[in-house]
Symmetry: C3
Subunit: 177 residues, 3 copies
């Protein structure tokens, strides 16, 4: 079996990165599994998640993985499936709150071995002034490192600004026989 | 009459986006009308505005539109004019303070119908850590959505970093007969 | 003697810009002098600096220039050397604390005259919400202006995102005889 491909879609808040990733999933022609990393903590969050879900195609399968992302990806990925993870930023935030950062290495270990198409959405958070809050500083360091590590192993990396994609890394598909 | 073109110029604070937009206006060869959205609230603001005005060509016409941007654009746009709006970020901030967000839809409705050349300057504000302030969070959501909506209908979108333009979207001019 | 070249490498926090700049220095084939602008103020800073130094090739020469950067560059630059300055953001911060911003003009005056290869690393800090802190607002204005001024005179400018370089400005080498 061929190994799959990993796409990373990054951008600022409200940059249109999720919508771009959803379009990539749609265009893959594969059946789509959506992995949400948001944890439902209150009614506002529940409403926001329901709103997002309603905007996605009804036939997409949805899984939740606030922390056990590697395990959920391992179960969901196969050669005929596109798995869309939205987003690594909430996942990283969940891990840091729970002091389970070891999950990061587990994800990076498994990612290159997964079959099918994997699309990961993540935030750029380090383009402002140094935050006064120490936890915020640690988070932006961890997020920056995570984005670098995923980008290094990803086949394609797209930066989305005002809804417009900019290809930062692109691996051509191998020629078909 | 041909419809006009819409250019969006985005970038961070002190990225050189205003100066780039001014250069685009100059190079258009059209007569230029400058629409300022800043509201003069204090002496510091007045000094800053006077400083900016002094740096622009003296023959440019200047209008002020802290909120009624669609109406001002409608009055100013014509086939022989380049209208430069600087900037959508102050305008959005004025609208939110006055709870007049309905103006956004009015602008988006009129923009594609205007003749001549329209250049809009706007800030990217969503590339940092989530702000602790709730109003700041709402503002960056609204600004991000606005930039996406304008970019979707614009002919050209340029991201400016350290004074250097990067074309994110480009629509070639139709061939001349 | 031919004049040298100036490369500016910019990016957000933890974007991989330092590592990219180090790779450029390595690939230059020249002997490398590293100018650190960080001032050792406490044990945490000392540990961080030691960690960074250990990650660089042992044969690189290291100089420190928390403020007198133009003078240090003038002493270090020659036709057979690549001088890597990391970073302008800490240097600017040191200058502002000491009210020695006049050093900025001194640097901009000397930069285009230096022989050999100069690589400067700097942060993008203006892509977030306007900071509430007045000093932070002033810093991001100064940093944005500095990046624009350096970019205007640099031969090459690279924006690094998630470790991936994007060339914003490129000056081809003159043809060899």
């Amino acid at each position: 079996m061929n190994r799959g491909t990993v796409d990373l879609v990054i951008g600022g808040a409200r940059s249109g990165k999720s919508r771009h990733a959803e379009q990539l999933a749609q265009e893959s022609g594969l059946s789509v599994t959506y992995i949400a990393t948001a944890e439902v903590r209150d009614a506002e969050m529940a409403a926001r998640i329901a709103h997002h879900r309603a905007s996605r195609p009804a036939h997409w399968r949805t899984l939740e993985a606030p922390m056990a992302l590697a395990e959920t990806l391992h179960g969901a990925a196969n050669a005929n499936t596109c798995v869309l993870v939205d987003c690594l930023t909430l996942w990283l935030s969940n891990l840091m709150l729970a002091e389970k950062e070891a999950e990061i290495d587990t994800l990076l270990d498994i990612l290159p071995k997964l079959p099918g198409k994997i699309i990961l959405v993540s935030n750029e958070v380090g383009w402002g002034i140094v935050p006064e809050n120490a936890l915020a500083r640690r988070f932006r360091d961890e997020q920056g490192r995570l984005n670098q590590r995923i980008a290094a192993l990803a086949d394609n990396v797209t930066l989305v600004t005002a809804g417009l994609p900019l290809m930062l890394k692109h691996t051509p598909l191998p020629p078909t026989a």
